[in-house]
């Protein structure tokens, strides 16, 4: 028996719809609709009162017209009147009209609110349901004001029916989303948490959604939900598929609820050991079930099962704490990469992307590189190929960069137009980030321009010029390569720009070769001149005047060109002005003056790659982080550090020679000479090595000029006690990378970091716990003089205002140059209310973070142990246990410390031994450690042997604090 009987339709409505569908043209349709609108209008306005049936019919007609894309500007009042009817049919259609058609700012809201209030008070569950739906659908601020206090009561009242509870939970969620300030936390919160134990799974599902959203902003209030969620999940996962009756979907017990519970758990860090054990069990069971044969061949069965599985995997990745589970997750995703279901391949690629950033599984992800490259080549679906590109980008590191970049370039030739620009940006970033050999970098970028010139944005070619200018070892090669590339009969305008700029600066480096003599270079460039747009021609004119300085022998040729009517009388003001000024300059200035004015460009100061900013902007339009990126980008534009000085001139400056020729104050004063180091990341090359105190506030020139020193002085005045307070927290981070570093009533500082060899990256999250804005929010990372020489830290600026309840993120790029003892200090200053806040905490960047574990056999271990027998190489510490002496926890700590835990090496099984290598930029230091617990005495003896006394000393100190 169908639930909707087909005879119930309204004849008038059916006739109208059929009329519309029979219309042969758009005009006829509009005519018919206008006729109907006029009819309905007159009926509504007419003297005769309409009965409920007619009202319903007309409202349905209006809904249909609205769906076709026509504006409905009347009928609202009639719909509101229907709300106060006692008949379900009329009330229901009234609510439907309102939820589809009424704007949240409508003036009718007050009338609607009245009707809702009556229905909520009616104690009729059907009417209450309709009213709650309406609130959830409109969700305006006025509604939140009227009902935010009322709904929590309905939600937790003992006598509320299940279906109403479900609706109330989601209704409250909607109001919290639109107006969080109007939903007060209170007694009801703890009772909401207990809904997780409700009998009715529909209620639990709705409550889980609500708690997940609330917990993101109020983690403390809802932290008891973790253990309840875990036990609920555990009951579902272990239940026989028939236990949950109707909530079993194609043999999978309550898949939606499982997914929601797993999402809720993602709001919290891994729970404490007792609960954690149970959670791990659940996750293992879910992973195990994936290997079982399917209970049904239907796609719904595998979909539901895999929905839970993917959610479990993302929780594992999110917690990032159980290496065993991470490896299993990675293997599972590896299986899916080759699955015949496209959906699963898509999701596997997507999840692996996040997995690639986990320190435990980065290597495991890399083993799938061939499969992913294959996906890029063979997938039919552009959505899937795009995920493959994302994953390749995420799994790229120095070991596979050349292969990945080559594959991406290959793919670019046939890639869909919609994603070309993004791939170009990614290739450019990878080529730069992992370039060991800069000739490779230059080749890659020129290839990019050749293959996809139209998609190479300005940022990309600005960047290649910045890099060539800042690295003198690649300049000759770059000049030679662009010269060769320009020989092609048809080359992209972007190539002409790069070529023009580079030859103008470094053409002299290849002029000795008769095949690229000055005149040949000039003729080659000039042959492209007339095909180019105005900005490019302007750039080429600047190249010509630079040639006048570089190659006096072709001065007259160039002067002839400048003097020609097409230049001197060019219709474009910018070109004309350049031609006139350059011609005059070349005529009247002496050789010395020319040489000074037209000197080589000074190196560019640099903090963040502008390409990276651009990519971030492209990836997430409309998000908050994105806005920050745009701001950053703008601010970097403002102080001119991210673009070649040339650009500003080409487009705007009325007197082009000044800035273009490097005489403007900005580039000269801001640019220190590039450091002599060679093979570190470019980002580091551009960091200002003179100031280890990186200025963090965005943007203005003031921030770059001087206050670095000032701020470090402020800290040295009164850092002592605040810094010490945080010591205990600091030690917690020695064996782990993520967690909360600092918390007081105003501010919470969270950390997430990852280290590989001698490099690391730390994400600092500043959370404003108050509802008031922080102003002038300035975090600064400070290194002492000693530390400065051994640790390179580089930070990106953060927005100086932090809204109430908001969180901002800051990235610190870390390079360990040599071994070090102290920790850098993070100083934070901001204004809260009227008061100035200043606090400092130690940033847990410790020497052991640069550990790489080394596995070795017992024999090897003791052989090396003996080699390091010089008394200066060994440091030993005997100390009392501060924590219960649990072997498993100890093992986890040693692994967390970074060394490998070597099993069956020490003849005494109670002892722990470990081995690893500390990577610094200058050296690698092998380290062996041995920890001997004495249970009776509750003591430990820790012995460290490394090739360097200071390292042994420091590691011993750090590790002793852990047990």
């Amino acid at each position: 028996m169908p639930a909707v009987s087909k005879g119930d339709g309204m004849r008038g409505l059916a006739v109208f719809i059929s009329d519309i569908r029979n219309c042969k043209s758009k005009e006829a349709e509009i005519k018919r609709i206008n006729k109907e609108l006029a009819n309905i209008r007159s009926k509504f306005k007419g003297d005769k009162a309409l009965d409920g049936y007619s009202k319903k019919k007309y409202v349905c007609k209006l809904l249909f017209i609205f769906l076709l894309g026509h504006d409905i500007d009347f009928g609202h009042m009639e719909a509101v009147n229907l709300l106060s009817s006692n008949r379900y049919t009329e009330k229901q259609i009234g609510y439907l009209f309102i939820s589809v058609l009424v704007n949240s700012n409508s003036e009718l809201i007050r009338l609607i609110n009245n009707a809702i209030k009556n229905d909520l008070a009616s104690r009729n569950p059907t009417f209450m349901g309709l009213a709650l739906h309406c609130i959830a659908n409109v969700g305006s601020r006025e509604m939140a004001e009227a009902f935010a206090g009322e709904i929590p009561k309905i939600l937790v009242a003992g006598d509320t029916m299940d279906s109403v509870k479900q609706s109330a939970a989601l209704c409250l969620l909607r109001l919290y989303r639109t107006s969080p300030d109007l939903v007060p936390m209170g007694d009801w919160t703890s009772r909401v948490v207990h809904l997780l134990n409700d009998q009715h799974l529909g209620v639990v599902t709705a409550a889980t959604s609500l708690i997940t959203t609330l917990a993101q902003k109020n983690p403390e209030e809802f932290k008891t939900s973790v253990s309840l969620a875990v036990s609920r999940l555990s009951r579902i996962v272990t239940s026989a598929s028939t236990d949950l009756q109707d909530y079993t979907y194609y043999f999978v017990p309550a898949p939606w609820l499982s997914v929601k519970l797993l999402r809720l758990l993602q709001c919290y860090p891994p729970p404490d050991p007792a609960v954690r054990g149970r959670l791990t069990e659940c996750l293992e069971t879910i992973l195990n079930k994936a290997q079982e044969p399917p209970k049904s061949k239907k796609v719904q069965h595998s979909n539901a099962k895999n929905a839970v599985l993917f959610e479990a995997i993302s929780l594992i990745i999110h917690h990032d704490s159980e290496p065993n589970l991470l490896v299993r997750a990675c293997n599972q995703l590896g299986q899916f990469l080759q699955h015949r279901e496209t959906n699963l391949r898509y999701l596997a690629l997507e999840s692996m992307c996040t997995l690639a950033s986990s320190e435990f599984s980065h290597e495991a992800v890399k083993t799938h590189i061939e499969t992913v490259i294959n996906a890029l080549k063979t997938e039919r679906d552009v959505s899937v190929r795009q995920r493959a590109v994302d994953l390749l980008y995420a799994m790229c590191d120095r070991s596979n960069a050349q292969q990945i970049v080559a594959e991406m370039l290959n793919y670019l030739e046939t890639a869909d137009y919609s994603i070309r620009e993004e791939i170009v940006l990614k290739v450019a970033i990878l080529a730069e980030k992992y370039a060991v050999d800069y000739t490779w970098y230059v080749d890659t970028i020129l290839n990019l321009i050749r293959i996809a010139g139209d998609y190479v944005s300005e940022e990309v070619w600005y960047r290649v010029i910045q890099i060539v200018i800042n690295r003198d070892d690649v300049q000759g090669y770059a000049a030679k390569t662009v010269f060769e590339a320009l020989q092609a009969p048809a080359c992209h305008e972007n190539l002409v720009k790069v070529g023009g700029y580079i030859l103008g600066e470094f053409g002299n480096l290849i002029a000795g070769d008769p095949r690229s003599s000055p005149l040949i270079q000039f003729n080659l460039l000039h042959s492209k001149f007339h095909l180019c747009s105005v900005p490019t021609r302007a750039l080429l004119l600047s190249t010509y005047i630079k040639f006048v300085n570089l190659f006096p022998e072709i001065k007259t040729t160039i002067q002839d060109v400048l003097r020609s009517d097409s230049q001197l009388k060019n219709a474009d003001v910018e070109l004309q002005q350049r031609a006139v000024e350059y011609l005059r300059l070349s005529t009247i200035a002496s050789t010395d003056i020319l040489a000074t004015v037209l000197e080589e460009m000074p190196p560019f100061p640099e903090r963040e790659s502008s390409i990276l900013a651009k990519l971030k902007k492209k990836k997430g339009p409309g998000t908050v982080t994105d806005l920050e990126e745009i701001k950053k980008e703008r601010s970097s534009d403002m102080n001119g550090s991210a673009e070649p000085a040339l650009n500003a001139t080409v487009v705007t400056t009325p007197s082009p020679t000044e800035d273009l020729l490097g005489l403007g104050p900005a580039p000269v004063t801001n640019s220190p000479p590039p450091p002599p180091t060679s093979d570190i990341l470019l980002v580091d090359v551009f960091a200002n090595p003179a100031a280890a105190v990186a200025p963090l506030a965005p943007g203005s020139d003031d921030n770059f000029a001087s206050p670095d020193l000032a701020s470090s002085e402020v800290v040295s005045e009164e850092p002592a006690d605040t810094v010490h307070d945080a010591d205990e927290l600091f030690h917690k981070f020695v064996c782990k990378n993520n967690g909360v570093l600092f918390e007081n009533q105003l501010l919470q500082i969270g950390l997430k970091s990852e280290f590989r060899q001698n490099l690391g990256r730390m994400f600092i999250f500043y959370g404003n716990k108050t509802s008031t804005q922080f102003l002038n929010f300035t975090p600064t990372v400070i290194c002492s003089d000693d530390l400065q020489s051994s640790l390179n830290l580089q930070t990106k600026p953060v927005d100086p205002t932090v809204d109430g309840g908001a969180q901002v993120q800051q990235v610190v790029n870390i390079e360990c140059v040599s071994d070090f003892m102290e920790a850098p200090i993070l100083n934070i200053q901001f204004r809260y209310g009227g008061t100035f806040q200043n606090l400092s905490v130690k940033l847990p960047i410790t020497l052991n973070k640069f550990f790489q574990p080394t596995e070795m056999s017992s024999q090897d271990f003791f052989q090396r142990w003996k080699q390091l027998s010089n008394p200066k190489q060994e440091v030993q510490n005997i100390f009392k246990a501060k924590h219960p002496m649990d072997a498993e926890i100890t093992k986890a700590k040693i692994i967390g410390f970074g060394s490998a835990l070597l099993e069956e090496v020490d003849p005494n099984p109670a002892n722990f031994v470990g081995a690893g290598i500390i990577h610094t930029k200058t050296t690698q230091i092998g380290c062996l450690l041995r920890l001997e617990p004495n249970l009776q005495a509750q003591m430990y003896r820790l012995t460290l042997r490394t090739s360097k006394e200071a390292v042994s000393q420091r590691l011993c100190e750090l590790l002793s604090e852990q047990f």
Binding site: V4, K6, V100, S209, Y249, W256, Q300, A307, N343
Partner: protein
């Protein structure tokens, strides 16, 4: 969170649109067109997920869709939803429609927009999943119908309206639909397939 639920046919004619985030009427129509454009150009048998169009929020949002006979069912969701979960939710929605309308087809959605809205309201509320248990949903809809019937019987004018509707021209008497440009195509093929229940396993794609 689910941002929008759209149903349109193979030609892009909207059959249901439900937005859980406020957009102006114009934008709503543009989103429907943009979404149709994105979804309809995709081959069959590719994956069911793609990044959302610019109007609805770009790559922060995903479109998760299924194609049944003449209709596309598209859910636009943010990153907090499970893709496969939503895919199954679409299936639950269509199976529920099939139960409520008995061999549901595009025409049912056209002539009973209000019913479709009611069924959807039992499943999704304010952009969040309210109920996934099909029996529970159908029970609620049944209860609503009973209420409607009892109200209709108690009122004379509605009764006469109902009796008029038995001569409903198109669905009860297919021969008169000659002028309609749309034939009655079931979302789930009826007859043998239906009996074997095979049609449910993969959305039929005509």
């Amino acid at each position: 969170m689910i941002k929008a639920i759209l149903i349109f046919n193979n030609h892009g004619k909207p059959r249901l649109s439900k937005f859980y985030q406020r957009y102006s009427e114009d934008t709503q129509q543009q989103i429907i067109r943009e979404t149709f454009h994105l979804v309809s150009k995709r081959d069959e048998n590719v994956c069911n997920f793609l990044e959302g169009g610019l109007l609805i929020g770009g790559s922060d949002n995903k479109l998760i869709y299924r194609h049944y006979a003449t209709l596309y069912f598209v859910f636009c969701v943010d990153s907090s939803e499970s893709e496969l979960g939503i895919l199954d939710l679409i299936q639950v929605f269509v199976e529920t429609l099939d139960k409520c309308f008995e061999n549901v087809c595009e025409l049912d959605l056209i002539f009973h927009v209000d019913k479709v809205h009611n069924i959807l309201a039992e499943m999704v509320m304010g952009g969040m999943v309210l109920e996934t248990n099909m029996n529970e949903i159908v029970t609620q809809i049944d209860a609503q119908n009973k209420l409607e019937k009892s109200e209709a019987l108690s009122s004379h004018d509605s009764l006469s309206a109902m009796s008029r509707s038995w001569s409903y021209p198109y669905l009860s008497n297919p021969d008169t639909t000659g002028s309609l440009n749309l034939k009655r195509t079931h979302l789930f093929p009826v007859g043998k397939n239906k009996a074997k229940d095979a049609a449910l396993s993969t959305p039929p794609q005509l």
